[in-house]
């Protein structure tokens, strides 16, 4: 009976929190319109959230592309289709690895930083101070960070895929001797703009909204103590990662039309 009660409490709390998070998102979206006349606030956040995440994205993209080149070559060469390596690397990156790995890295680097920053602003009464100065913190603090994350994510994913293709080229063409012309031409012929690239872009936009939403909500909802901010940061990384992986399956199933 007690277990049932605990289970019930967990479900009720989760639903209540989801409701609060949804109302919060609604408020953020309403406030976003006001940022059109103060777009510099969003640009600052694209820099903080996006540009400062660039290094980890580029390095990871390069290595993921290089590993894809190695693994892909080893499999394709058994079937005598090593020339399709470029196509394999590009499709893997553009459709799946680009958006997903970028979102996971984004949650770990930028999402956790956003939660910690907003949580600490709350703990040090900066958010309350803003409210008392008749400045809405949702418009001034949350909405620019939300939009910054949503804009940065697809750009980061595109760069991840681009540098990944170069990594695959480096290993496949540079080290393993795949023909450079075949590498690029197969890729050009096989990658479809709408079915592959646009689906990847849609995924990264969805991941951008979800990861940034979770990060800013957890920060704003954090218990204003050091322990509260630490657990909020932890929740941001865990929830964002799980949400990205779950949504990836749903989006892939929808775009392929297999389910």
């Amino acid at each position: 009976m007690n277990t049932l009660r605990v289970l019930g409490a967990i479900v009720v709390n989760s639903v209540e929190r989801l409701g609060r998070a949804s109302l919060f998102l609604y408020e953020v979206l309403l406030s976003s319109w006001e940022l059109l006349r103060r777009f510099y606030l969003v640009v600052q956040q694209v820099y903080a959230v996006g540009v400062l995440t660039l290094l980890i994205i580029l390095v990871s993209g390069l290595f993921v592309g290089m590993v894809l080149g190695l693994q892909g070559y080893n499999t394709l060469v058994k079937f005598g289709s090593a020339n399709s390596l470029g196509l394999l690397v590009a499709l893997s990156l553009v459709r799946e690895l680009g958006p997903v790995v970028t979102a996971l890295l984004f949650a770990g680097r930028a999402g956790s930083a956003l939660t910690a920053e907003i949580g600490l602003m709350k703990a040090t009464e900066q958010i309350a101070g803003m409210e008392m100065m008749a400045v809405n913190p949702i418009t001034r603090v949350i909405a620019p960070r939300f939009l910054g994350g949503v804009i940065a994510m697809p750009l980061l994913a595109a760069l991840f895929s681009a540098i990944g293709v170069l990594g695959g080229h480096l290993v496949g063409v540079g080290l393993l001797g795949v023909d450079a012309g075949a590498f690029w031409s197969q890729m050009q012929a096989g990658v479809d703009f709408r079915d592959d690239i646009m689906n990847g872009v849609v995924k990264s936009v969805v991941f951008g909204v979800v990861c940034t939403w979770i990060a800013v909500f957890e920060g704003y909802d954090a218990v204003p103590t050091s322990e509260g901010v630490a657990s909020a940061t932890n929740r941001t990384v865990v929830y964002s990662s799980l949400a990205v992986l779950g949504l990836d399956f749903i989006l892939t199933a929808l775009t392929l039309g297999e389910v």
Partner: protein
């Protein structure tokens, strides 16, 4: 002809609290409290930690709503205001937080400029002059390029004070302005509160448990205990009071109406028990 309503713009009373009850987290913080604050004066609200002093400031600023009772500021019932009206009222009041609550990513100059940038469209040259004048008032014009992390506790509070007065509010609420400061900084803050009150003609509400500093600058003082007003008058009258509670607070006695021990069961029984 109607008498001017208490707390109305044409009345001498700026803040009027009537029979306010408030519970937070299952604990009753305020128990039918009634008092008023005069325009243009420095009013002290003193009391022990957890007596509900800061809660009162949150009621004045509309950050909390009472369970019952009225909170009237400048003729407006604060709990009944819509968000937009509340923000309009807040533009005319300032709250100096205990920590200063400076924005850690902005310099001293930008912190003070923040409310002006948010609420007005002043040109950069006028904005610069206004900010420098306010920083000069608190003696920190030379520190304008520093970041909040480079300031001492007293300096941070002075910057927060400059930011609080930059929009020239009708009232400033000081939440524990002396806590954690050295004697020199305490003296500086006390002097600033008094001088600003006189030079700008604003109403000041000082919430504190530092008796000597607060009494030295206030025109009128309220003493709060157990969610009620337990003493009031000019600082001299409060210091002469014979009430046990007032005496315990003013003289800093460990025993009195406020017990030293947090309520607990029998001591020996507790020691013999194995429960945590």
């Amino acid at each position: 002809m109607n008498q001017p309503r208490t707390g109305a713009p044409d009345s001498d009373i700026l803040v009027d609290i009537r029979d306010v009850n408030l519970s937070l987290g299952g604990r009753q913080i305020l128990k039918g409290i009634t008092f008023s604050i005069q325009r243009g004066k420095v009013t002290a609200i003193m009391g022990g930690s957890g007596s509900g002093k800061t809660t009162l400031l949150n009621l004045f600023g509309g950050r909390l709503k009472p369970n019952t009772g009225q909170v009237i500021v400048d003729g407006q019932s604060v709990p009944d205001l819509k968000t937009k009206e509340l923000y309009e009222l807040r533009k005319r009041m300032a709250l100096l937080f205990q920590t200063g609550a400076l924005f850690t990513d902005l310099s001293v100059f930008e912190n003070v400029a923040f409310p002006i940038r948010e609420h007005t469209r002043l040109s950069e040259s006028i904005l610069r002059k206004v900010v420098l004048m306010k920083l000069e008032t608190v003696g920190l014009r030379g520190a304008r390029r520093l970041m909040p992390s480079e300031l001492s506790g007293g300096m941070a509070r002075r910057v927060a004070l400059a930011r609080a007065i930059v929009m020239e509010p009708m009232m400033i609420m000081y939440d524990e302005p002396f806590t954690g400061l050295d004697p020199i900084s305490k003296g500086v803050i006390a002097k600033l509160i008094r001088e600003l009150n006189q030079s700008l003609g604003i109403t000041s509400i000082v919430v504190s448990h530092d008796v000597p500093e607060t009494c030295s600058i206030s025109d009128y003082a309220y003493l709060i205990g157990d969610g009620r007003i337990i003493g009031q008058g000019t600082p001299a009258e409060v210091q002469q009071s014979n009430s046990d509670y007032v005496r315990q607070f003013m003289d800093g006695l460990p025993e009195g109406p406020v017990p030293y021990q947090y309520p607990a069961g029998d001591y020996v029984e507790d020691l013999m028990s194995s429960a945590a």
